[in-house]
């Protein structure tokens, strides 16, 4: 009965959405709806209030869609019509995403009660690797071996795809030598750590193939998958495994928590100031997906049931996002998943924008493949909610197509006079502005604490210029994309402009030109001023996004392999010979720490001991340290750790990564809803500041070119092993180059 009533009410709402009432009726409705949404935003974002918000907002958006469809698509000329259709398509895409997102996020849930476990199942931990630095692998394996789990039930495997037989026997002798060296090093490391080292003859099916090859050697009831840069906290298994008490659960996924900023956060210096870019997915969307039993495997930080995997023949590898593909198949078989919103692993983000683009292109290609090869709307066995959620996740990755249109659409009118949007000022006030306001308000409502306003637009606009081609090529040939590994653990010794900046220069130039044309049109075509105003403001938004993008494309150096993490002023004692004094740890990494309250001068390179009560192991810990830097003004000293044994190293790793509560605190600290305007102000301020630095660097580069000195600018990147990096120029190391150029110009030729 309720269902019938719901369908009837839905039908009426749909009918009213399509009702082309007079403009003043629409204006009144829009205004009142916006006030209502604003009021609802002040209430707890749960239950009936949440559904009311989404329904009312959806109604207004649907009204916009109908108006847009039946009123604004006039035919003036072929080019204008084509441009207006492209824009209309992009808007339809955006609206479809809104509605899918509303369904997905209608009722987010959390599993606050952990089921009781009497008999713990056996667990195999898979740590797949390809070309990551040995230091990172060692760190992760050490943390995995230290997991709080009955040792006889825990078996750890390093799945090395970087030293497969094919790679060791590669025709390129240098590459073969590197692979062989890696093989020897990692095998020795595994033997030392008590980890089973596995490799295979070749690299077929990439990560999925690697995992499937390991399945033949492993026999545990559960499989935990951790990327080799994902360091687990000690309670990773204790928190996740109990959820397998439900025999239908095939997956317990936890968030990917990153202790390093992504390149955009890093370059804009927004890390720690705003929620992480992935927080929206892991802290909000996954909770909504979990409600629909559609939370899916994200490739790492998850535990899976072996029996379920065997039922579908292991990990699927038809697409380059094997994780989502495998989950989709298992959900279709009736298995259930659980999303545990508790950060239990600490990972590393890509260091450069190029690496980020590479990662996101793979995701985009994979999800487009999923859309084409296993369309969730057609796949048998899925529930209605699951279909929508999976469709939402795959459909999202078409955003590059829409974003490129949104970037270019105002220019189509301003530069070429193409009539892309047939509406007058009153219609814009009654339909378009409320539509935009509703989009902003609902983004704020659903994700305000985990994603600030316009951050999505900013990231998507930056990535879309590169993902566009990837999506189109996948659409043309869905089976072509190959798995590419995201580089991790890069160290950048200098600041440089990303080599991917070129299209942004071009767009910035065109957008600036758009303003000139807007002024010209304003003078010459007074009858089109509503259109000029609309596209002009739109162009301004694009301009600001592009400026901020240039800021984000000025890559900041990253010299540390191990990120320093805050430890909340942990008390300790620093001992040098007979001297001993109390200190507090400001931050700590596996490499070293920054100590506070040190007022007496210390000799650099002097070695001593740092003693403290281990917060995870709950026992005294004494670590050998060396002074590397001191600031008497700040009463601080930097030390590097010199662990003497594997046990010390393990204790150090647990000190840094063992406590999952710290991750939760870090995450909570970053999650704050500061409102649309404030968020925008911060983003623009950071973007403009960094963009200024970008332009200064660019100006210097121009000056050098005038002096006929054109060095090959590359960032100095370091890692312990050679990586399979993208070929070609990586970046422009202006800092270094400037120094060289200055030296060169001072010295007279000859």
């Amino acid at each position: 009965m309720v269902l019938i009533l719901t369908l009837v009410a839905g039908g009426i709402v749909f009918f009213l959405s399509a009702l082309a009432v007079d403009l003043h009726d629409q204006g009144l409705l829009a205004l009142m709806v916006l006030i209502l949404l604003w009021k609802l935003d002040r209430l707890p974002r749960l239950g009936l209030g949440r559904i009311a918000f989404l329904t009312v907002a959806g109604f207004l958006l649907l009204r916009y869609l109908f108006w847009r469809t039946f009123t604004t698509l006039g035919f003036d000329d072929s080019l204008s019509f084509l441009a207006s259709l492209l824009l209309y398509g992009a808007e339809c895409y955006g609206l479809s995403m809104w509605f899918l997102s509303a369904v997905t996020n209608a009722c987010p849930i959390r599993h606050s009660r952990r089921p009781q476990v009497s008999i713990w199942p056996s667990v195999d931990v898979f740590v797949p690797t390809y070309d990551e630095p040995v230091e990172i692998i060692k760190l992760t394996l050490t943390a995995v071996k230290a997991l709080d789990y009955p040792p006889h039930l825990l078996k750890v495997y390093l799945l090395d795809d970087g030293a497969t037989l094919a790679k060791r026997c590669a025709p390129n002798l240098a590459a073969a030598r590197v692979a062989l060296e890696r093989y020897t090093t990692l095998k020795a490391l595994c033997r030392k750590l008590g980890v089973t080292y596995l490799t295979r003859p070749d690299n077929a099916l990439a990560k999925a193939g690697n995992l499937n090859a390991a399945l033949q050697h492993a026999h545990g009831e559960l499989i935990a998958v951790l990327d080799c840069d994902h360091v687990p906290a000690v309670d990773f298994l204790k928190q996740t495994v109990p959820h397998f008490a439900d025999p239908k659960v095939f997956l317990v996924q936890t968030p990917h928590f990153f202790v390093t900023p992504d390149p955009i956060e890093k370059n804009l210096r927004l890390f720690d100031r705003m929620p992480a870019e992935n927080a929206m997915f892991y802290q909000a969307v996954q909770l909504g997906m979990d409600f629909w039993n559609a939370s899916f495997f994200c490739g790492s930080a998850a535990v899976l049931r072996r029996k379920a995997l065997d039922e579908v023949g292991g990990f699927s590898g038809q697409t380059v996002t094997e994780d989502a593909e495998t989950s989709l198949k298992l959900h279709a078989k009736g298995w259930r998943s659980v999303y545990l919103n508790q950060p239990l692993v600490a990972g590393l983000q890509p260091e450069t924008f190029a690496s980020l683009v590479r990662q996101r292109m793979r995701w985009a290609q994979g999800m487009v493949q999923l859309f084409l090869l296993h369309n969730p709307l057609r796949l048998k066995g899925l529930a209605f909610g699951q279909r929508l959620v999976y469709f939402n996740c795959a459909w999202f990755w078409f955003f590059p197509l829409a974003r490129v249109v949104f970037l270019l659409a105002p220019l189509a009118y301003l530069l070429f006079g193409l009539k892309i949007y047939d509406a007058n000022l009153k219609e814009i006030a009654a339909y378009t502005l409320p539509y935009l306001a509703t989009l902003l308000l609902s983004a704020e409502y659903l994700f305000g604490r985990v994603r600030w306003a316009l951050i999505s637009e900013f990231y998507e606009s930056m990535l879309s210029l590169f993902s566009f081609k990837a999506v189109v090529s996948t659409l043309k040939n869905p089976k072509t994309p190959r798995f590419t590994v995201t580089p991790k653990g890069e160290r950048l010794d200098n600041d440089f402009i990303s080599p991917l900046a070129t299209p942004f220069y071009a767009l910035l130039f065109l957008t600036s030109l758009g303003f000139i044309f807007a002024l010209w049109r304003w003078q010459m075509l007074p009858q089109e001023r509503s259109m000029i105003l609309l596209t002009g403001i739109w162009n301004l938004v694009n301009f600001l996004i592009l400026i901020a993008s240039l800021g984000a494309l000025y890559e900041q150096r990253q010299r540390r392999l191990y990120p320093r993490l805050p430890v909340a002023n942990l008390p300790a004692r620093l001992e040098f010979g007979q001297q001993s004094f109390p200190v507090r740890l400001r931050d700590v990494s596996v490499g070293g720490s920054n100590l506070m309250d040190v007022s007496m001068p210390l000799a650099l390179e002097e070695q001593g001991y740092l003693s403290l009560e281990h917060p995870v192991l709950r026992c005294p810990l004494s670590l050998r340290v060396k002074i590397v830097d001191q600031s008497l003004k700040n009463k601080s000293v930097s030390v590097c750790f010199l662990p003497a044994s594997l046990e010390e190293y393990r204790a150090l790793v647990l000190l840094v990564y063992g406590d999952s509560q710290r991750w939760q605190m870090m995450l909570t600290k970053r999650q704050r809803d500061i409102g649309i305007v404030h968020a925008l102000r911060i983003l623009l301020a950071c973007g403009f500041r960094q963009a200024a630095e970008h332009f200064v660097a660019l100006w210097k580069f121009v000056l050098w070119r005038k002096e006929n000195y054109v060095p090959v600018f590359k960032p100095r990147t370091r890692s312990s092993l050679e990586h399979d990096r993208p070929s070609g120029r990586i970046g422009l190391a202006f800092g270094e180059a400037y120094e060289c150029a200055r030296a060169h110009s001072i010295t007279p030729p000859g």
Binding site: A9, I12, D22, I51, A52, P108
Partner: protein, 699 residues
Amino acid sequence: MSAPEPIRLRHQADEYTLSLPIPDRWQVKSARLTLDFVHSNALIAKRSQLRVQINGLTVGQWRLDPNSPKRLETIAIPSEFLVPGYNELRFSAAQHYTEDRCEANTSPELWTEINPTTSFLKLEYAMVPPLLSLTQLNQVFDKKLPQAEIALLFPNLDLSEQELAIGSLIAQGIGLRLEYAPFRFNLAQAKSQPAERIHLALPQDQDAVLIGTRAHLAPFLDPQLISHIAGPYLGLFTNPQAPAQALIIVSGTTTEEVHQAALAFALMRFPVPDAQETVISKLNIDPEPGSSALQPNRTYTLAQLGFTTASRQGLVPPPIEFEVYLPADAFAPEEAEVVFELHLAYNAGLRQDSLLEMRINGIFERALQLPEVGGAHYRNYRISIPLRTFRPGRNRVSFHPLLVPQISGECIFFNTESLKVTIYEDSQVTVPPFSHYVELPDLSLLARAGFPYLASSDGSGIGVHLLDRKPETILSSWQLIAQLARLNQAPLSKITFSLAEPNAPLDWIVVGQDLQKFAALFPNTSVHLDRPKIFSYPTSLTPVAPQAWWRAVLFLPELAELKPRPVHIAQTGSLGRFAIGLSFKHPILPDKLITAFLAETELYPAIAQLTRPELWPQMQGDLLFWRKEDNSVLWQRTTERFYRGSAQPSLRLIFHFARHPWQWLGVALAVCLLLAWLLHRQLKRYKQRHHPDAEETAP
């Protein structure tokens, strides 16, 4: 002579043209034109003059002397210059402020004004007897006559319902021939008076129509003439007592044949047959008559709308105009647009600020710039006008050229010959889809389009109820029907006249002077004409609603809203010399309308006054008050309104919500919140089933 607009002649050379109608049956004996005019005292007499032309021939001229700028001049116009038809009376001024230097053409001191109320043309004329041929009917009832007065003669004034219908057809035939010209009828009983062939006492100064069956007319016509009435009969004769006056005989062997003859009289507006008498043997009317109204979702060429290719020349030439007729109940969503695709051309040598102003009913809507110096020819120049810009009924679409020569300035020859623009008749008008849905009562719809009475073009939807049989009441009903026939541009042959209670499923026009009977028939009208009388008094007739704050926020225009708040006062007294018009929903028949025209005295003069071109368009609201000598009507909106039409439910809702925006808001939000509640229940149930241990959380 009087004209509704001031006559101003400006610039170096200007002219003003009046149309001077001379009826075909007038023979002008003499004409004297008296002009009262004032001109600028900055003009120089030597070069400035005012000239009067009749049909292009100069009949008088005056030097404009700055020493005597106020002038009263009289000239005699040779009578032979004034011919039957429309004569062109033109005033041309040549105005200069300097003798020997070049001067600015548009200098503000170059002006002359003719006072339109104190200037006059005095004509002396004689009536010419009509030619005794039915082809002359259009000349007998000539729209060029300043005020036609026609006597309608019946052998017996105790008219039956069928005779009332016949009388209305005669009235329509006369009204249609006179087009826009005012007219009045006299209803009289035919009285015999010996004369040759026609033994009838007739008014000396009026044309007359004698109506009756052969038997009834036998006492008035000689046997030979009677013998000609062998079926539906029409004959044109002269008044035996006043040969300049015409007498039309409408007869037949039976009342049905008389009806048929009357219908033929109303229809025969084409000059055949060329005979004094005719007997109609058969009369076929297309059962589905065509309509001149625009149909939804159709494309018309301007030629189909009666427009022929037109060119204009000069700086500010007269506009290029045509009419479109929009059904009075046409209703479409706000964004529905009428699209004009113009086929036009303009000459080379125009300055870039030359343009063509498009006006709908005199209101500026769009401008077409004519920017090409080398001239241009446009096909399908698109102009979109919202359908709601058009009024119900006739709409005048006009294009006003403002043409400027490329080379202009002091002492430079203005090539006005090249200032030309043409609009072609194959230009198209595309009408958007619309429905027929309207809010009633609204007397403005009756005024503009005869709605709802002309919903069917043969009048089959009209019922006319007479409260009494007084001649004034009968004439009033005929006058009103003739007015409706004019709006319809065709006779309404299927009108139902009723003296019984008006309960047939028709839209009724109630006319009469028996106010007691009216009050008994319709006790619930907003104005009670019983004793004591209850009159409606407007406390705020046309207040403008204060600007709604939400409209200001959305940059929407201020809506001038008519918010009548009538008070009703029961009191003694009477209507006196006032007539009232009252429109309201039929108390029994759903969706049917009653419009009553009532007066205690002087009903017919008041109705005749109401149907004059200056009063009729003023009708609006649902309650009218006016007197026979008034030039304006007082109106109010007093009664409950209702919707009528056959629109889709969605359009009905749009129509309703356009008038009740808060209801729209309430309904939309209520349904959304209901849906939200239902969805929430469903989700809650789903959660209990699938995630009993999980908690809802807000990320």
